[in-house]
Symmetry: C2
Protein backbone atom coordinates (compact mmCIF):
# COMPACT_ATOMS: atom_id res chain seq x y z
CA UNK A 1 0.00 0.00 0.00
CA UNK A 2 3.03 2.24 -0.11
CA UNK A 3 1.74 4.09 -3.16
CA UNK A 4 -1.61 4.92 -1.62
CA UNK A 5 -0.61 5.70 1.94
CA UNK A 6 -3.18 8.33 2.87
CA UNK A 7 -1.40 11.59 3.67
CA UNK A 8 -4.79 13.29 3.76
CA UNK A 9 -7.04 12.21 6.64
CA UNK A 10 -10.17 10.12 6.31
CA UNK A 11 -13.15 12.21 5.10
CA UNK A 12 -15.16 10.95 8.09
CA UNK A 13 -12.59 12.56 10.38
CA UNK A 14 -12.65 15.69 8.20
CA UNK A 15 -16.43 15.79 8.74
CA UNK A 16 -16.05 15.39 12.51
CA UNK A 17 -13.54 18.23 12.57
CA UNK A 18 -15.75 20.49 10.44
CA UNK A 19 -18.82 19.71 12.55
CA UNK A 20 -16.94 20.51 15.75
CA UNK A 21 -15.99 24.00 14.55
CA UNK A 22 -17.97 26.95 15.88
CA UNK A 23 -18.40 29.64 13.22
CA UNK A 24 -15.15 29.01 11.34
CA UNK A 25 -14.06 31.94 9.22
CA UNK A 26 -13.18 29.66 6.35
CA UNK A 27 -12.84 25.91 5.85
CA UNK A 28 -10.29 24.80 3.26
CA UNK A 29 -10.34 21.11 2.40
CA UNK A 30 -8.24 18.76 0.32
CA UNK A 31 -8.56 15.11 -0.55
CA UNK A 32 -6.71 12.40 -2.49
CA UNK A 33 -7.25 9.43 -4.82
CA UNK A 34 -7.23 6.95 -1.92
CA UNK A 35 -10.38 8.45 -0.38
CA UNK A 36 -12.03 9.31 -3.70
CA UNK A 37 -11.84 5.61 -4.54
CA UNK A 38 -12.81 4.22 -1.13
CA UNK A 39 -15.19 6.77 0.44
CA UNK A 40 -16.37 9.06 -2.36
CA UNK A 41 -19.75 9.88 -0.74
CA UNK A 42 -18.02 11.05 2.44
CA UNK A 43 -15.51 13.06 0.41
CA UNK A 44 -18.37 14.84 -1.37
CA UNK A 45 -20.18 15.41 1.94
CA UNK A 46 -17.07 16.94 3.53
CA UNK A 47 -16.45 19.17 0.50
CA UNK A 48 -20.06 20.40 0.62
CA UNK A 49 -19.47 21.55 4.22
CA UNK A 50 -16.34 23.50 3.25
CA UNK A 51 -15.63 26.86 1.63
CA UNK A 52 -12.61 26.14 -0.53
CA UNK A 53 -11.60 22.86 -2.16
CA UNK A 54 -7.93 22.37 -3.10
CA UNK A 55 -7.08 19.32 -5.17
CA UNK A 56 -4.78 18.31 -8.00
CA UNK A 57 -5.81 17.87 -11.62
CA UNK A 58 -5.85 14.07 -11.43
CA UNK A 59 -8.08 14.14 -8.36
CA UNK A 60 -10.38 16.72 -9.97
CA UNK A 61 -10.81 14.54 -13.07
CA UNK A 62 -11.33 11.39 -10.97
CA UNK A 63 -13.78 12.95 -8.53
CA UNK A 64 -16.01 14.48 -11.21
CA UNK A 65 -15.43 11.86 -13.91
CA UNK A 66 -14.45 14.29 -16.66
CA UNK A 67 -11.23 15.11 -18.52
CA UNK A 68 -12.24 18.79 -18.47
CA UNK A 69 -10.90 20.77 -15.53
CA UNK A 70 -13.44 23.52 -16.27
CA UNK A 71 -16.28 21.01 -15.95
CA UNK A 72 -14.76 19.51 -12.80
CA UNK A 73 -14.51 23.00 -11.32
CA UNK A 74 -18.11 23.85 -12.21
CA UNK A 75 -19.32 20.59 -10.69
CA UNK A 76 -17.40 21.20 -7.49
CA UNK A 77 -18.90 24.71 -7.19
CA UNK A 78 -22.36 23.12 -7.50
CA UNK A 79 -21.67 21.44 -4.14
CA UNK A 80 -22.04 24.90 -2.60
CA UNK A 81 -18.41 25.82 -2.02
CA UNK A 82 -17.12 29.33 -2.69
CA UNK A 83 -14.00 28.42 -4.57
CA UNK A 84 -12.04 25.52 -5.99
CA UNK A 85 -8.31 25.50 -6.65
CA UNK A 86 -6.92 22.91 -9.04
CA UNK A 87 -3.17 22.31 -8.71
CA UNK A 88 -1.26 21.29 -11.85
CA UNK A 89 2.29 20.86 -10.59
CA UNK A 90 4.82 22.67 -12.80
CA UNK A 91 1.91 24.02 -14.88
CA UNK A 92 0.65 26.14 -11.99
CA UNK A 93 -2.87 26.22 -10.59
CA UNK A 94 -6.36 27.39 -11.44
CA UNK A 95 -8.91 29.16 -9.25
CA UNK A 96 -12.59 29.01 -10.06
CA UNK A 97 -15.33 30.89 -8.22
CA UNK A 98 -18.91 31.46 -9.33
CA UNK A 99 -18.02 34.60 -11.28
CA UNK A 100 -14.27 34.52 -11.66
CA UNK A 101 -11.36 32.48 -12.95
CA UNK A 102 -7.68 32.94 -12.21
CA UNK A 103 -4.70 31.24 -13.79
CA UNK A 104 -1.64 31.11 -11.50
CA UNK A 105 1.60 30.08 -13.22
CA UNK A 106 4.09 27.65 -11.80
CA UNK A 107 7.46 29.17 -10.95
CA UNK A 108 9.89 28.14 -13.73
CA UNK A 109 12.32 25.83 -11.92
CA UNK A 110 15.48 24.70 -13.64
CA UNK A 111 16.05 21.78 -11.27
CA UNK A 112 13.35 19.83 -9.47
CA UNK A 113 14.94 17.71 -6.75
CA UNK A 114 11.89 16.34 -4.91
CA UNK A 115 8.28 17.39 -5.52
CA UNK A 116 7.06 15.45 -2.45
CA UNK A 117 4.98 17.75 -0.27
CA UNK A 118 4.68 20.54 -2.84
CA UNK A 119 0.90 20.29 -2.77
CA UNK A 120 0.88 20.47 1.02
CA UNK A 121 3.30 23.42 1.04
CA UNK A 122 0.99 25.09 -1.46
CA UNK A 123 -2.07 24.46 0.72
CA UNK A 124 -0.43 25.62 3.93
CA UNK A 125 1.02 28.76 2.36
CA UNK A 126 -2.32 29.54 0.71
CA UNK A 127 -4.23 29.34 4.00
CA UNK A 128 -1.58 31.30 5.84
CA UNK A 129 -1.49 34.15 3.34
CA UNK A 130 -5.26 34.21 2.80
CA UNK A 131 -5.95 34.41 6.54
CA UNK A 132 -4.12 37.74 6.56
CA UNK A 133 -4.70 39.13 3.06
CA UNK A 134 -8.22 37.81 2.27
CA UNK A 135 -6.94 37.77 -1.30
CA UNK A 136 -7.18 34.30 -2.84
CA UNK A 137 -5.26 35.18 -5.98
CA UNK A 138 -2.25 36.69 -4.23
CA UNK A 139 -2.36 33.82 -1.74
CA UNK A 140 -2.14 31.37 -4.67
CA UNK A 141 0.87 33.16 -6.16
CA UNK A 142 2.68 33.08 -2.80
CA UNK A 143 1.64 29.44 -2.37
CA UNK A 144 3.14 28.67 -5.78
CA UNK A 145 6.39 30.36 -4.74
CA UNK A 146 6.56 28.33 -1.50
CA UNK A 147 5.87 25.10 -3.40
CA UNK A 148 8.70 25.96 -5.82
CA UNK A 149 11.19 26.19 -2.92
CA UNK A 150 9.85 22.88 -1.56
CA UNK A 151 10.66 21.17 -4.90
CA UNK A 152 14.26 22.36 -4.84
CA UNK A 153 15.36 20.12 -1.99
CA UNK A 154 14.63 16.74 -0.40
CA UNK A 155 11.97 16.96 2.28
CA UNK A 156 12.13 20.34 3.99
CA UNK A 157 15.83 20.92 3.29
CA UNK A 158 15.27 23.79 0.86
CA UNK A 159 12.23 25.34 2.57
CA UNK A 160 14.05 25.55 5.90
CA UNK A 161 16.69 27.82 4.40
CA UNK A 162 14.30 30.23 2.66
CA UNK A 163 14.14 33.84 3.85
CA UNK A 164 11.29 36.32 3.44
CA UNK A 165 13.52 38.16 0.97
CA UNK A 166 13.85 35.02 -1.14
CA UNK A 167 10.06 34.65 -1.14
CA UNK A 168 9.44 38.28 -2.09
CA UNK A 169 12.03 38.05 -4.88
CA UNK A 170 10.26 35.06 -6.45
CA UNK A 171 6.88 36.72 -5.96
CA UNK A 172 8.10 39.71 -7.99
CA UNK A 173 9.37 37.33 -10.68
CA UNK A 174 5.93 35.72 -10.79
CA UNK A 175 4.35 39.12 -11.33
CA UNK A 176 6.77 39.90 -14.13
CA UNK A 177 6.54 36.57 -15.95
CA UNK A 178 2.85 37.10 -16.59
CA UNK A 179 2.94 40.74 -17.68
CA UNK A 180 2.31 41.59 -21.30
CA UNK B 1 3.45 5.27 -40.13
CA UNK B 2 0.13 6.93 -39.48
CA UNK B 3 1.19 8.16 -36.06
CA UNK B 4 4.36 9.76 -37.28
CA UNK B 5 3.21 11.23 -40.58
CA UNK B 6 5.38 14.33 -40.81
CA UNK B 7 3.18 17.40 -40.84
CA UNK B 8 6.31 19.50 -40.45
CA UNK B 9 8.63 19.46 -43.45
CA UNK B 10 12.01 17.78 -43.57
CA UNK B 11 14.69 19.90 -41.84
CA UNK B 12 16.81 19.67 -45.00
CA UNK B 13 14.01 21.42 -46.89
CA UNK B 14 13.69 23.91 -44.02
CA UNK B 15 17.41 24.65 -44.44
CA UNK B 16 17.03 25.10 -48.20
CA UNK B 17 14.15 27.51 -47.63
CA UNK B 18 16.07 29.47 -44.98
CA UNK B 19 19.19 29.65 -47.17
CA UNK B 20 17.15 30.92 -50.10
CA UNK B 21 15.75 33.87 -48.12
CA UNK B 22 17.29 37.30 -48.67
CA UNK B 23 17.37 39.30 -45.44
CA UNK B 24 14.29 37.80 -43.81
CA UNK B 25 12.84 39.97 -41.06
CA UNK B 26 12.33 36.96 -38.85
CA UNK B 27 12.51 33.19 -39.28
CA UNK B 28 10.17 31.16 -37.08
CA UNK B 29 10.74 27.42 -37.13
CA UNK B 30 9.00 24.39 -35.71
CA UNK B 31 9.84 20.70 -35.74
CA UNK B 32 8.40 17.38 -34.54
CA UNK B 33 9.38 14.04 -32.98
CA UNK B 34 9.66 12.35 -36.40
CA UNK B 35 12.55 14.59 -37.49
CA UNK B 36 14.11 14.84 -34.02
CA UNK B 37 14.45 11.06 -34.09
CA UNK B 38 15.54 10.69 -37.72
CA UNK B 39 17.53 13.82 -38.59
CA UNK B 40 18.43 15.51 -35.31
CA UNK B 41 21.64 17.13 -36.62
CA UNK B 42 19.73 18.79 -39.45
CA UNK B 43 16.99 19.90 -37.05
CA UNK B 44 19.62 21.57 -34.84
CA UNK B 45 21.27 23.15 -37.89
CA UNK B 46 17.96 24.57 -39.11
CA UNK B 47 17.08 25.92 -35.64
CA UNK B 48 20.50 27.62 -35.40
CA UNK B 49 19.70 29.49 -38.62
CA UNK B 50 16.34 30.73 -37.28
CA UNK B 51 15.22 33.49 -34.91
CA UNK B 52 12.34 31.86 -33.04
CA UNK B 53 11.81 28.18 -32.25
CA UNK B 54 8.27 26.98 -31.52
CA UNK B 55 7.88 23.43 -30.25
CA UNK B 56 5.78 21.49 -27.79
CA UNK B 57 6.91 20.32 -24.36
CA UNK B 58 7.45 16.71 -25.46
CA UNK B 59 9.61 17.81 -28.39
CA UNK B 60 11.56 20.22 -26.17
CA UNK B 61 12.34 17.44 -23.69
CA UNK B 62 13.25 15.00 -26.46
CA UNK B 63 15.42 17.41 -28.42
CA UNK B 64 17.46 18.53 -25.42
CA UNK B 65 17.29 15.28 -23.42
CA UNK B 66 16.04 16.83 -20.20
CA UNK B 67 12.77 16.73 -18.25
CA UNK B 68 13.26 20.43 -17.40
CA UNK B 69 11.62 22.86 -19.80
CA UNK B 70 13.76 25.66 -18.37
CA UNK B 71 16.92 23.71 -19.24
CA UNK B 72 15.56 22.82 -22.68
CA UNK B 73 14.82 26.50 -23.28
CA UNK B 74 18.28 27.59 -22.16
CA UNK B 75 19.90 24.98 -24.38
CA UNK B 76 17.87 26.08 -27.38
CA UNK B 77 18.87 29.73 -26.80
CA UNK B 78 22.51 28.59 -26.83
CA UNK B 79 22.02 27.70 -30.51
CA UNK B 80 21.89 31.44 -31.14
CA UNK B 81 18.15 31.98 -31.56
CA UNK B 82 16.41 35.03 -30.10
CA UNK B 83 13.47 33.26 -28.52
CA UNK B 84 11.95 29.87 -27.88
CA UNK B 85 8.26 29.19 -27.32
CA UNK B 86 7.28 25.92 -25.65
CA UNK B 87 3.64 24.91 -26.16
CA UNK B 88 1.95 22.93 -23.39
CA UNK B 89 -1.56 22.34 -24.78
CA UNK B 90 -4.25 23.21 -22.23
CA UNK B 91 -1.52 24.40 -19.84
CA UNK B 92 -0.61 27.30 -22.12
CA UNK B 93 2.83 28.19 -23.42
CA UNK B 94 6.15 29.58 -22.25
CA UNK B 95 8.40 32.15 -23.90
CA UNK B 96 12.08 32.34 -23.09
CA UNK B 97 14.52 34.94 -24.39
CA UNK B 98 18.01 35.70 -23.12
CA UNK B 99 16.72 38.11 -20.47
CA UNK B 100 13.03 37.46 -20.17
CA UNK B 101 10.45 34.79 -19.46
CA UNK B 102 6.72 34.91 -20.14
CA UNK B 103 4.01 32.49 -19.06
CA UNK B 104 0.98 32.51 -21.36
CA UNK B 105 -2.06 30.66 -19.99
CA UNK B 106 -4.23 28.33 -22.00
CA UNK B 107 -7.78 29.54 -22.52
CA UNK B 108 -10.00 27.54 -20.11
CA UNK B 109 -12.12 25.44 -22.48
CA UNK B 110 -15.06 23.49 -21.12
CA UNK B 111 -15.27 21.19 -24.15
CA UNK B 112 -12.36 20.12 -26.30
CA UNK B 113 -13.71 18.53 -29.48
CA UNK B 114 -10.55 18.07 -31.53
CA UNK B 115 -7.09 19.41 -30.63
CA UNK B 116 -5.68 18.45 -34.06
CA UNK B 117 -3.96 21.46 -35.59
CA UNK B 118 -3.99 23.57 -32.43
CA UNK B 119 -0.21 23.84 -32.48
CA UNK B 120 -0.28 24.94 -36.12
CA UNK B 121 -3.07 27.46 -35.47
CA UNK B 122 -0.98 28.77 -32.61
CA UNK B 123 2.10 29.10 -34.83
CA UNK B 124 0.24 30.77 -37.69
CA UNK B 125 -1.56 33.21 -35.42
CA UNK B 126 1.66 34.01 -33.58
CA UNK B 127 3.53 34.86 -36.80
CA UNK B 128 0.60 36.83 -38.16
CA UNK B 129 0.19 38.96 -35.03
CA UNK B 130 3.91 39.40 -34.45
CA UNK B 131 4.51 40.58 -38.02
CA UNK B 132 2.24 43.54 -37.28
CA UNK B 133 2.69 44.11 -33.53
CA UNK B 134 6.36 43.12 -33.04
CA UNK B 135 5.15 42.07 -29.58
CA UNK B 136 5.89 38.40 -28.93
CA UNK B 137 3.93 38.22 -25.68
CA UNK B 138 0.72 39.69 -27.08
CA UNK B 139 1.16 37.54 -30.18
CA UNK B 140 1.32 34.45 -27.93
CA UNK B 141 -1.87 35.41 -26.12
CA UNK B 142 -3.71 35.90 -29.42
CA UNK B 143 -2.21 32.64 -30.68
CA UNK B 144 -3.52 30.89 -27.58
CA UNK B 145 -6.99 32.31 -28.25
CA UNK B 146 -6.93 31.12 -31.88
CA UNK B 147 -5.78 27.66 -30.80
CA UNK B 148 -8.67 27.52 -28.31
CA UNK B 149 -11.21 28.09 -31.10
CA UNK B 150 -9.45 25.43 -33.18
CA UNK B 151 -9.96 22.87 -30.39
CA UNK B 152 -13.70 23.54 -30.20
CA UNK B 153 -14.54 21.93 -33.53
CA UNK B 154 -13.39 19.18 -35.87
CA UNK B 155 -10.81 20.39 -38.37
CA UNK B 156 -11.47 24.01 -39.24
CA UNK B 157 -15.21 23.90 -38.47
CA UNK B 158 -15.00 26.15 -35.42
CA UNK B 159 -12.21 28.47 -36.65
CA UNK B 160 -14.11 29.21 -39.87
CA UNK B 161 -16.99 30.70 -37.90
CA UNK B 162 -14.93 32.90 -35.60
CA UNK B 163 -15.26 36.69 -35.88
CA UNK B 164 -12.77 39.36 -34.84
CA UNK B 165 -15.19 40.24 -32.03
CA UNK B 166 -15.05 36.65 -30.75
CA UNK B 167 -11.26 36.81 -30.77
CA UNK B 168 -11.13 40.16 -28.97
CA UNK B 169 -13.60 38.92 -26.36
CA UNK B 170 -11.44 35.90 -25.51
CA UNK B 171 -8.32 38.07 -25.54
CA UNK B 172 -9.90 40.30 -22.87
CA UNK B 173 -10.79 37.18 -20.85
CA UNK B 174 -7.15 36.07 -21.09
CA UNK B 175 -6.05 39.45 -19.71
CA UNK B 176 -8.52 39.18 -16.86
CA UNK B 177 -7.79 35.58 -15.86
CA UNK B 178 -4.19 36.45 -15.08
CA UNK B 179 -4.76 39.67 -13.12
CA UNK B 180 -4.20 39.69 -9.39
Amino acid sequence: MSHTYPRVIDPEIQLKVINSLKKPEIVVIDTMNFWIESKKDKVIEAIAKSDVLILNEGEARELFKTPSLVKAAKNSLKLGIKAVIIKKGEHGSLLFTKDDHFNCPGYPLEDVIDPTGCGDSFGGAFISHYSKSKDMKKAMVYASVIASFNAEGFGLSSLQKVSMDDIEKRYREMVSLRSF
